[in-house]
């Protein structure tokens, strides 16, 4: 899309959705509703990719993606390219809501979100997992395109498992001076949440005794077994390539569930 076209387009409200159902023992994608600029393409039996059909999100855009993974089914969501968040009229937002039913599995692995100079963005994830649901959820944020400092962004992640809080995190980017307690000089921050079935959850005291459950740490990446049934791999890096390498290293340390 040309720059002139970006400047001309108005703020958009969009709500796209994907839902699965169990049909004769197999996953069927029964709802696949695009809503420009969020366009969805089925790229495999249980795989959907997000394809941007307009620039942005731009300031003023309010985008929502709803995922409903029925009990016993599988869904994989990716994106064709990274998402570039641009400034515009007011703040922009992207909210992803996902419900994963009992025994179902969701892999959410989009490409990074890049915060262009001047943007004011809000990213929210609301993830609810029923008993023994599995999730693999990646989030990567890059401050600015090459040579840019990057705009503002607040990310909020809320995950519950079996009705109990599993992970709640909020991160403010570009809203104040860099702190050596928060990001230091890193330009990229990312995480992958993986879960194990609820019934294998162990108390913190028991975790402390097990070498595997103790997590792992290396340059710019940490693998953290949560108090609930999951593990968070969190990384900081200078660029998107290094960020992905660090997350992949961390994931290799997570024992298979």
């Amino acid at each position: 899309m040309s720059l002139a076209a970006v400047a001309a387009r108005r703020a958009m409200r969009a709500r796209a959705e994907i839902a699965t159902t169990l049909s004769a023992g197999r996953t069927a994608l029964t709802v696949l509703r695009s809503s420009p600029p969020l366009t969805l393409r089925q790229t495999g039996p249980v795989t959907v990719h997000l394809v941007s059909t307009a620039a942005g999100p731009l300031g003023g855009d309010e985008l929502e993606l709803d995922l409903r993974v029925a009990p016993g089914t599988t869904l994989e969501v990716g994106s064709i390219a990274s998402t570039l968040v641009l400034p515009g009229e007011g703040p922009s937002s992207m909210t992803v809501t996902a419900h994963v039913g009992a025994g179902a599995s969701l892999r959410f692995a989009p490409e990074p979100t890049v915060l262009a100079d001047g943007c004011d963005h809000r990213m929210a994830v609301r993830l609810s997992l029923d008993g023994d649901a599995r999730v693999w959820w990646r989030e990567e944020v890059v401050m600015g395109r090459y040579g840019e400092a990057g705009g503002r962004c607040v990310t909020r992640f809320d995950a519950t498992a079996g009705g109990r809080p599993l992970l709640r995190q909020e991160l403010e980017l570009g809203t104040g001076p860099c702190s050596p307690a928060v990001l230091g000089g890193a330009r990229c921050v990312g995480s992958v949440l993986t879960t194990r079935p609820c019934d294998t959850a162990v108390a913190d005291g028991a975790v402390a005794d097990g070498a595997v459950a103790d997590g792992a740490v290396a340059d710019g990446v940490v693998v953290m077994p949560l108090a609930g049934p999951g593990t968070l791999v969190q990384a900081l890096a200078a660029d998107a390539v290094e960020l992905r390498e660090r997350l992949d290293w961390g994931l290799a340390q997570v024992p298979p569930s």
């Binding site: 909020r156 809320d158 995950a159 109990r164 809080p165 599993l166 992970l167 709640r168 995190q169 909020e170 991160l171 403010e172 104040g176 001076p177 860099c178 702190s179 050596p180 307690a181 928060v182 990001l183 230091g184 890193a186 921050v189 913190d204 975790v207 402390a208 103790d214 997590g215 740490v217 710019g220 990446v221 940490v222 953290m224 077994p225 949560l226 108090a227 609930g228 968070l232 969190q234 990384a235 900081l236």
Partner: protein, 204 residues
């Protein structure tokens, strides 16, 4: 302000806080904090993330919200096992001394339900017992989140204690309204690295 709150926030209260640096020891070791300016930046970042979360939860615990539910919510906001362990160790020690200093049914009930609560929960319930308001409990938790690391920095870097206290005096205390979930990826990284470090002065 009640005299009890002053005792509760005093670093001389024998509740083991002096043994924790809140990530400062590892930050110094990795060169992230090396002078007064980097110390101020570290403390400001800690205050608006870990400090704000602790303040919100201490104020809710003081207001009488179910401590077991708050404790589970704090677990969800503390991804790092090393940070959960440090928070629960400090909570257990605070609860132990508080029960002896201010014997009360509320503290006995808390100890029965949560022997090792996250520190802000122990602080909030104790604050209510000594007659403090939820807002004061939140301020006490925020204060605790930065004074320990600041004092640790004085010892680790040999900084001028008066200059460090001037830094503390100029930090903005967050409003304890609501229940924030602000996370700090580097604090997680520092906590996990510190726990694996063979030689250390502080527990966390």
């Amino acid at each position: 302000m009640t005299p009890g709150l002053l005792l509760l926030t005093d670093s001389r209260l024998p509740a083991g806080s002096h043994a924790h640096s809140g990530g400062m020891e590892q930050a110094v070791k990795e060169g992230l904090v090396h002078d007064l300016a980097s110390l101020e930046s570290f403390l400001a970042g800690r205050l608006r993330t870990a400090g704000a979360v602790a303040a919100g939860f201490a104020s809710q615990a003081c207001a009488g919200h179910d401590p077991v539910e708050l404790d589970a919510e704090l677990d969800a906001r503390t991804a790092s096992p090393a940070q959960r362990e440090a928070a629960r160790t400090q909570g257990r020690l605070l609860l132990r001394v508080a029960r002896r200093i201010w014997p009360s049914p509320a503290l006995e009930e808390l100890a029965g339900r949560l022997p090792s609560p996250h520190h802000p929960i122990a602080l909030g319930v104790t604050a209510a017992v000594v007659g403090a308001t939820p807002r004061e409990a939140g301020a006490a938790a925020a204060y605790h989140a930065v004074t320990g690391p600041a004092t640790a920095a004085v010892r680790l870097l040999g900084l001028d204690p008066v200059a460090v206290h001037r830094v503390l005096a100029t930090l903005d205390l967050p409003s304890p309204d609501g229940l924030p979930a602000a996370s700090a990826p580097l604090l997680d990284l520092l906590a996990e690295r510190h726990r694996r470090s063979p030689v250390r002065l502080f527990v966390s």
